[in-house]
Amino acid sequence: MTDNAPIRLDREGIYQVLKNRDPLLFVDDVLVEPGKGSWMERTIPADAWFFACHFPGDPMMPGVLQLETLFQTSALAIKLLDGYKDKTTNIAQITGARFSGHIRPGDTISVSTQIHRFRHGVAAISGEIHVGETLCCAADFVLAVLDDMPGMKRGME
């Protein structure tokens, strides 16, 4: 793995670097530029488990799962850096999130994330999810790699 070349990961490749598993795995076929960002298009299955309960008769993807999609997609851009495959990324902060469109059964979402800075184990990231031209979710957040923070008191552990 290199710091520069974009890498395409299918589900099997994702299993090699992410610990998430169904039904809480929301990424598939992701294009990753290590240290910079990641992109994905994915069709949300009409029979996805959360539509039946969120909400009956008015199914839409929960906002919290949209955020999780952004976290997982962006985490791949860190974990594909040399030496990071086996390190865990933790969500440490959400500095802003906006939801402006619904994601319905069968919708194809376009996910993009950008890492603005990754240093000392702290990554400042922004991400967006679109359905077609409609922006459904935009968020700014921080992922932390605790293994990169030696000597600090680790309140998250």
Partner: protein, 78 residues
């Protein structure tokens, strides 16, 4: 922007700290200055002053005042 202004701005940006209460601020005095906030603060300072801090200095950086002392090692006078 003076070095003092850059220094104070880093605390505001990284920790969302109240600028009126910076002088006595210590690590973990506010929820935002936890281990993750600390690393964000260090990164802000490195960008602001174009330096790269050593691990020992990052760990020793325990307060607003201590940071001023540490930055002198990097030829940054606040």
């Amino acid at each position: 922007m003076t070095n003092l202004e850059k220094y104070r701005q880093a605390f505001v940006t990284a920790l969302n700290a109240d600028e009126q209460k910076l002088d006595d601020l210590k690590y973990q005095d506010i929820p935002e200055w936890d281990s993750v906030g600390h690393m964000s603060l260090v990164a802000e300072l490195e960008d602001a002053f174009d330096i790269e801090m050593e691990t020992d200095d990052i760990i020793d950086f325990s307060s607003y005042q201590k940071g001023i002392e540490i930055l002198k090692k990097y030829h940054v006078e606040i």
